[in-house]
Subunit: 478 residues, 2 copies
């Protein structure tokens, strides 16, 4: 097993240097490569296959709920971006500007979309005339560009892949319902596909999306105790509609502005999967999105009948799960370590002695538990195991989050936790932005979300002591 | 049927004005909308659903052949684009340049990818070291930007959606095999999914891709007799590998440059479908890519039991085909005309008299033929009909192309055909670019492709009379 050890040693231990551990994994598991433009990355086949599995599950869900995919242009004229004041203030400082087309200077600068509210609004203004045209439930899968100063693979990149839903409705109620419905879609997706528990709540005014009336978020806790804003859903009211002149004849034949939402999630979810589930051996992938769910490793490949048996098992399982055989000329130990590093949920070992006993050895990536399975039973055992792995990964992440969630009842306690512990601080808040500023400056903890569906734990703000309005989760954030 | 007539009248007749007929269809069938940036379009849900069906079929085929999807950045530094001389000469005049990120001027201009050879080569140069790393069979689905002067929806737009395969191999033979294999994939896709016959051949030197050693193409003939270059596959030799410094240790442990290909198809295929199959009533969609394959139109909706019966039929067919019911409050005549305009392959009418007789009426979009079908038989009849529609559409297009293909044996005949007929001219060619220039200037016919797998029809070039090297298809082209 010396080779095994050698390969494992290439990954920095997460306790030693979490940031380096993360970078080691994304590089060594061949999820991505850097490009010549700072913050722009190549997503390599293994990373992209994870993304494709995420896209496929989400896209199906969106369509079941009546959404339709469209494709908007990637370029926004400067004058169009400027139509909504808060929106342009939020995004203009971080966009890439196109100034020349071929050899000619453009009359008006165009920015590469940092998000597409302006484009959807322009289209809606042209195509929506009557209440009969509503709602429109549109979504697009594309990449956007934000000129970030500090970038990290998947977590914060200049260009990133995402999905942006943009819907438009007759009434505020409908639009609000859509906002909350899509937030729940994300919450469920994180739980059911990524095995990640998230805190579902509302952003404070200072943390909301530029131009939104309210922003909702799902926040996940990473292994190092920092929070990751993992997906957001916004309610716009009719601000954008007014700014972009979107108007329809309502059922009383009166002109009216419609109500809008937008909601999105990104390749950042790959970062979340790495940092919630990974360990010192590398990636641990939730089965639902793992490109390969089961890797068969034949032992003593050259012995007669081994590869044939491996092929036979693969054939039997190929309709049940995503399964591959590693029949390369590397040693079994090397292969164990390599597929552990790549996070494959189940390893199936089959050697001459196993064949004699009509069995195989299955090793779970999450717990490293070894299970002897009768070869007659693989069709029933493997799907059950994949389910068990998913459930165990979720429970483990949930338990860690519980351990890492600390209540603070006054600012001394708040500061004390921030200095000695990592994770979420849960406290009451008066609603004043000053207290958010105080917390940020003195503890580096920022408000992650308001969680008013939980029982309040005090009557007073933990930061200033004034009467409290909201229960808030705070954390250091990515 | 007056409403029916009215809706139909909104589309310009194709004989009256083909260009206007085309634009009417893309707008009225709600395939796309114009945006504020010239040549950039919004692909609306119906257009995008057609594209998704194309993507899904092609992506499956690419993966079956061992290709993996990746995502490259959209931005290319100017210095990187300049590494291959012919490539930059071909593309630099038509790229969009990013000069500012946020408020800062960039040290080096970045272009929005017009195609991604440079990016794939940069990545390959970093990641390929040994023959064991080869081949890499990569593909990406994305949009690219080319600053076109004259644009038309789907056919030639500033930004367009496409797929670009980029593969890299140990030997020229392998790379050449890949080039031809992918050309055949496109040829089969056009035939089997789009019901479009194409001419599969090689581009002349003057028409090949900037930087390629050879370019292969599938060319389709539109209803107006003009040709559309519909997909291309390029063999690069090792030019790019040398320019970008891609080198691997070969099996003899010597450093060597690998061999590359690229191949692509675009949303232009939607334009091809419109212009090959459409008629004066609107779109005619090939069943395999139609978002809705069967539209159920209940007659006398308010009569008891009609909607229930329609739902029942839909339920029975929903696993067999993409089927919808139009139960809006419009008149049946209006609905007939609307779904004809949108090109739905089959219309299923069900009214009180049909229910009495346990039957429905099915109308084929391609031939407008009416077929009475016993309700017990719909599960078998509908899939058969969809196959028949596909086959008939292909045969019709093939027959039209045959009619529109004319042999020219000398330049008088060539010019005569170019003045009095439309379609392909098939003639022998000496291989001299001068003759291509003569043809282009005097007839506006350009060489579409060399077709040396067909029997030669003369010994001499139809343009200059010198000894002929190749059989060539010529046409006016989009």
């Amino acid at each position: 097993m010396s080779e095994n050890k050698k390969a494992v040693e290439e990954i920095t231990s997460m306790d030693e240097n979490f940031a380096k551990w993360y970078t080691d994994i994304v590089k060594k598991a061949e999820l991505m490569d850097y490009s010549g433009v700072k913050g722009c990355m190549v997503i390599e086949p293994y990373g992209y296959a994870i993304w494709e599995n995420m896209v496929s599950a989400l896209d199906k869900k969106f369509k079941e709920l009546g959404h339709q995919n469209v494709s908007m242009p990637m370029l926004i004229p400067e004058s169009l971006l400027q139509k909504e004041k808060d929106h342009v203030e939020g995004f203009a400082p971080e966009v890439a500007w196109v100034t020349h087309g071929g050899t000619e200077k453009l009359q008006e600068r165009l920015c590469i979309r940092p998000t597409s509210e302006a484009l959807f609004c322009e289209h809606y203004a042209k195509t929506i005339h009557s209440w009969r045209d509503l709602p429109k439930l549109y979504n697009q899968w594309c990449s956007v560009v934000r000129w970030e100063k500090t970038t990290r693979p998947f977590l914060r990149s200049t260009e990133f892949q995402w999905q942006e839903g943009h819907t438009i409705h007759e009434t505020p109620e409908e639009a609000k319902h859509e906002t909350m419905q899509m937030l729940s879609v994300y919450y469920d997706f994180f739980k059911d596909y990524l095995a990640i528990p998230t805190i579902k709540g509302k952003k404070t005014e200072s943390e909301k999306f530029a131009g939104a009336e309210s922003t909702y978020t799902v926040e996940a806790l990473m292994h190092d105790g920092k929070a990751l804003q993992s997906a957001t859903s916004h309610y716009f009211g009719n601000h954008f509609a007014k700014a972009f002149g979107i108007e329809f004849q309502n059922r009383d034949n009166k002109p009216q502005n419609p109500y809008q939402t937008s909601w999105g999630c990104t390749t950042r979810m790959i970062g979340a999967v790495i940092m919630v589930h990974g360990d010192d051996r590398g990636l641990v992938l939730p089965p639902k999105i793992a490109p390969t769910q089961v890797i068969i490793i034949p032992i003593a490949v050259k012995k007669e009948g081994i590869l044939k048996k491996a092929d036979e098992i693969k054939e039997r399982l190929t309709k049940i799960c995503r399964i591959k055989i590693d029949n390369s000329d590397k040693s079994p130990g090397w292969k164990f370590s390599e597929h552990e590093m790549r996070g494959v949920p189940l390893r199936l070992e089959i050697g001459p002695k196993d064949i004699e006993k009509n069995q195989c050895v299955i090793v779970r990536r999450d717990s490293l538990e070894k299970i002897i399975v009768n070869l007659d039973d693989v069709e029933t055992v493997i799907p059950e195991l994949l389910e068990k792995v998913h459930a165990a990964m979720y429970e483990k992440a949930l338990a860690r989050r519980s351990e890492m969630t600390h209540e603070a009842h006054d600012f001394e306690e708040f500061k004390n936790i921030s200095e000695n512990k990592v994770g979420f601080i849960k406290s009451m808040w008066c609603g004043d932005e000053k207290c958010e500023k105080t917390s940020k400056e003195q503890t580096a903890f920022t408000s992650r979300c308001i969680k008013d569906d939980e029982n309040k734990i005090d009557d007073y703000c933990a930061i200033c002591g004034k009467p409290a309005k909201h229960l808030v989760y705070w954390a250091k954030a990515y």
